[in-house]
């Protein structure tokens, strides 16, 4: 950290830490958390959009500080629904459903939530520190990430989807294929042609994420559980407070996942078009590959929660870099922030730090402050959130279903989306009865269109030659890392299978 940026940051902290601004950060964090927990309404960009009219009533510095609080709060809260209810509120929370919800089933919802809060706090802090120190360097790296690099990164993410397919690889591939197919619906950006829209305006922009995720997770979950008795409690809930929070051993065992997730999330977050979705998927795979117990992933591994949640939160600092340094909004959330900046009359970009340091540095400082607010707010509330699991099914599931309907409708004010959600829910119910995993389907649905677009953009650049993926150094590097990781995972699995065979008791003579 240079002396100048340290001094600027301290000035920024003093400007952000006024009673008024502290109040608005706290309000932003509270509201962001409250909205972020709602299935269907919980994405940070939705929370920011909903509160944009209120934000614009404030002065620019306070308004942006308020937005930073909302962004943080919504990010943190997204994990709660995923872990407790198996309902992700945004794409980046999908990964948490895999191990987080398994932990909840095992009576460890509290430690899972606690770890997501703590790993998020650590990662956010590291992300904001990196933003303060390395913004110009990282900004230029972000520019160098083009279609071939994105293709390689997303391909890495999709390969990881296959490793998450559970016991049956074939069923995982079926799920992935369905997800890829669903992702093709809509008007193609490059050719303008309509694909599987059946000439319906409702499908012009493709199948939306919210109806898909709410259908696959919320509706199918309700349908699956309607078959079972409603008298039982949802999951076992420990009574002692210390069992509702992670232990020191849990924190020790997950520190590698937290650090790797922080790094992955920050770098991917700063890529225009990157975003927390890819960051969380990739960090899950990285955490699994470097873990001492990769066999636990998918069956309730705390590292499977800590890694993606760290990536999800350090992405906050990363996403600010293209926004503040280049005036480029890299995600839907920063697009809303950019809109606020423009309406406030502040032009983000390379000149922002010179022309408006009184806005840039307090916003960065507010991210630090927001972090502490989140820790203070969310950690003590965990025992309360876990009590949700004691609510009987016959109360909980109509509530979930209601929120799902509201969420599906709210994005585009469209009843079609509600209908789509119900249809997808029925399909999801069928898939779950056939034991076909739905997480790979959703991940392929999210990543597939991005992969296809990156592939076609790359082939435009190379006039059809696939060698472009090997000729661009960053793309080649990512492919090599992916290949090494896949090979390492294969060798480790083979080694473990070999040890299992040796350990099996020999039949007596």
């Amino acid at each position: 950290m240079t002396v100048n940026s340290t001094v600027d940051l301290l000035h920024g902290l003093s400007a952000a830490a006024t009673p008024t601004n502290l109040m608005w950060v706290a309000i932003g964090v509270l509201i962001g958390t409250a909205i972020g927990i709602m299935p269907g309404l919980g994405s940070p960009s939705a929370a920011l959009a909903i509160l944009l009219p209120l934000t614009l009533q404030l002065n620019p510095t306070t308004g942006l500080i308020f937005m930073a609080g909302i962004y943080h709060g919504a990010k943190f809260a997204g994990s709660t629904g995923a872990i407790l209810l198996n309902i992700p509120s945004e794409p980046s929370s999908v990964v948490l459903c895999i191990d987080g919800h398994e932990l909840a089933k095992q009576g460890r919802a509290g430690p899972a939530l606690g770890l997501s809060v703590i790993s998020g706090f650590v990662a956010s802090t590291l992300g904001v520190l990196a933003l303060t120190v390395a913004a110009p360097l990282v900004a230029s790296l972000a520019i160098d990430f083009g279609p071939p690099e994105f293709f390689s990164l997303i391909l890495l993410g999709l390969v990881l989807v296959v490793t998450m397919s559970g016991k049956s690889r074939i069923k995982g591939f079926i799920a992935m294929a369905l997800g890829l197919l669903a992702g093709t619906v809509g008007v193609d950006l490059l050719s303008g042609q309509q694909r599987y829209t059946f000439n319906s305006l409702n499908l012009y922009n493709g199948i939306q994420f919210l109806p898909m995720v709410l259908g696959l997770f919320a509706v199918s979950e309700v349908l699956i559980n309607i078959e079972k008795s409603t008298k039982r409690k949802v999951f076992p809930v420990p009574k002692k407070i210390r069992d509702l929070l992670p232990t020191w051993e849990d924190l020790r065992n997950t520190k590698r996942a937290i650090m790797s997730g922080s790094v992955v999330g920050f770098f991917i977050g700063c890529l225009p078009g990157g975003g927390s979705t890819i960051a969380s998927f990739v960090s899950y795979g990285v955490a699994k590959n470097i873990s001492k117990h990769p066999e636990k992933f998918g069956n309730g591994s705390l590292e499977g929660v800590a890694g993606p949640e760290a990536a999800n939160n350090s992405e906050v600092g990363g996403a600010m870099i293209p926004l503040l340094s280049l005036g480029i909004a890299g995600s839907s959330s920063t697009t809303v922030m950019l809109a606020a900046l423009l309406i406030f009359g502040v032009e983000p970009g390379p000149q922002l730090f010179q022309q408006h340091p009184e806005i840039a540095w307090p916003v960065i400082a507010s991210l630090y402050i927001g972090n502490f607010m989140l820790l203070l707010l969310n950690l003590p509330l965990i025992p309360m959130w876990v009590q949700l699991l004691k609510i009987p099914y016959w109360i909980l599931y109509p509530f979930i279903f209601t929120m799902a309907i509201v969420g599906a409708y709210s994005e585009r004010s469209s009843m079609f989306d509600v209908e789509m959600m119900v249809v997808v829910g029925l399909i999801g119910y069928g898939l779950r009865k056939l034991e076909i995993p739905i997480s790979p389907l959703l991940m392929a649905f999210v990543l597939g269109p991005k992969l296809e677009l990156a592939l076609r953009q790359s082939l435009v650049l190379s006039d059809g030659s696939p060698l472009i993926f090997l000729q661009r150094p960053i793309s080649l590097g990512v492919l090599v890392v992916g290949a090494v990781a896949a090979l390492a995972a294969f060798l480790v699995k083979r080694h473990q299978r070999g040890r299992t065979h040796i350990a099996l008791p020999q039949p007596s003579a």
Binding site: D144, G192, L201, I328, A329, A339, L342, E347, G349
Partner: protein, 330 residues
């Protein structure tokens, strides 16, 4: 029996809520009297071009006490501009809903076979702003005039980066290629950030868009504006000449490529149209509006009535041959 009762309760609750939710979005009825807009509709999500435009209008009207009514902005993003036009058509005769339209709506409708809606399914109330399109290149390429860029296209491959096949900026680029007898490659991204990154990275050599898109990078010296595709120079970039000043005449290419205005549902009562026009006429005279236009590099162009109808018709006619020449048609 108790368990079954709970199932019934749960199912009934869900059904009730679903029924209530299906009532969401139903608009109320309006009257011929001075209306209070229930919603200010836009076809982009929060932070999109039309969203910002609508919020600025609402803010300026309020700050300048032109109206005390609050115009809440609501996004109807399903189907983009086509979807919003279809929505307006379904609310024929109402006076309490208005929408921020752009010229892109007409291009979308013309580019699609059997488009479900068109601008004729709305009541255009007023055009407000001309968002002059600019041709930008990275400064690292060394081009200082549009002619250099067009000449370079004859000897090497130029790649244009843009938003979609039928965007106004792509059509303008088609016109430039036809004029210079060259053929460019097209690289499309969903968002402006990725497009600017592609330009800075060197994956593309040219981009056509508005002043607000390029301003940060031009001020940082990374991009240069070669030309303004309109009748007048843009205030933010006064050194960028127009096509007319460069002696480049492209028959049929309208001076206004990207413009913004306000429209209502079809068969909107004339009194309501006059009412909104009155408010907007006051708005465009305020200092806040002029400041907003200047910050965006746009020009105020307040056009209503028959003149507006003629403008829209001429735009449609001009764009037709360019749409037909798109790289891969629909």
């Amino acid at each position: 029996m108790y368990a079954r009762g709970k199932h019934v309760l749960a199912g009934a609750t869900a059904l009730l809520v679903a029924t209530l939710a299906s009532g969401c979005g139903n608009s109320g009825s309006g009257s011929d009297a001075s209306p209070t807009p229930k919603e200010f509709l836009v076809d982009t999500g929060a932070g999109g071009g039309s969203d910002i435009f609508a919020r600025e209008i609402e803010k300026i009207l309020g700050d300048n006490h032109i109206t005390s009514a609050h115009w809440p902005v609501r996004a109807i993003t399903e189907g983009d501009g086509l979807g919003l036009m279809a929505y307006l058509r379904s609310h024929s005769g109402k006076n309490d809903e208005i929408a921020a339209f752009t010229s892109k709506w007409m291009v979308e409708a013309d580019a699609m076979k059997n488009a479900p809606a068109s601008i004729e399914d709305t009541t255009p109330i007023a055009e407000l702003a001309d968002e002059t399109q600019l041709v930008a290149v990275p400064t690292s390429l060394g081009y200082t005039t549009l002619k250099q860029l067009l000449d370079a296209g004859r000897t090497k491959q130029i790649t244009l980066v843009g938003g979609s096949a039928e965007s106004v900026s792509t059509l303008a680029a088609v016109a430039l290629q036809q004029y210079s007898h060259t053929s460019w490659k097209y690289l499309f991204f969903h968002d402006n950030g990725s497009r600017i990154s592609a330009l800075l990275r060197g994956d593309a050599q040219v981009m056509v868009d508005s002043a607000a898109t390029f301003a940060p990078e031009v001020k940082a010296g990374k991009l240069r504006i070669l030309a303004a595709l309109g009748a007048k120079r843009v205030s933010q970039f006064p050194d960028a000449p127009t096509l007319h000043e460069l002696g480049i005449v492209i028959p049929g290419l309208p001076d206004q490529l990207q413009f913004r205005g306000i429209a209502g549902p079809p068969n909107m009562p004339p009194k309501a149209v006059k009412y909104y026009q009155g408010l907007l006429a006051k708005m465009v005279k305020t200092d806040d509006w002029k400041k907003y236009m200047e910050s965006q590099g746009d020009t105020t162009d307040f056009i209503t009535g028959d003149k507006l109808t003629t403008l829209l018709k001429n735009f449609d006619t001009s764009m037709a041959p360019l749409i037909a020449a798109l790289p891969e048609g629909q």
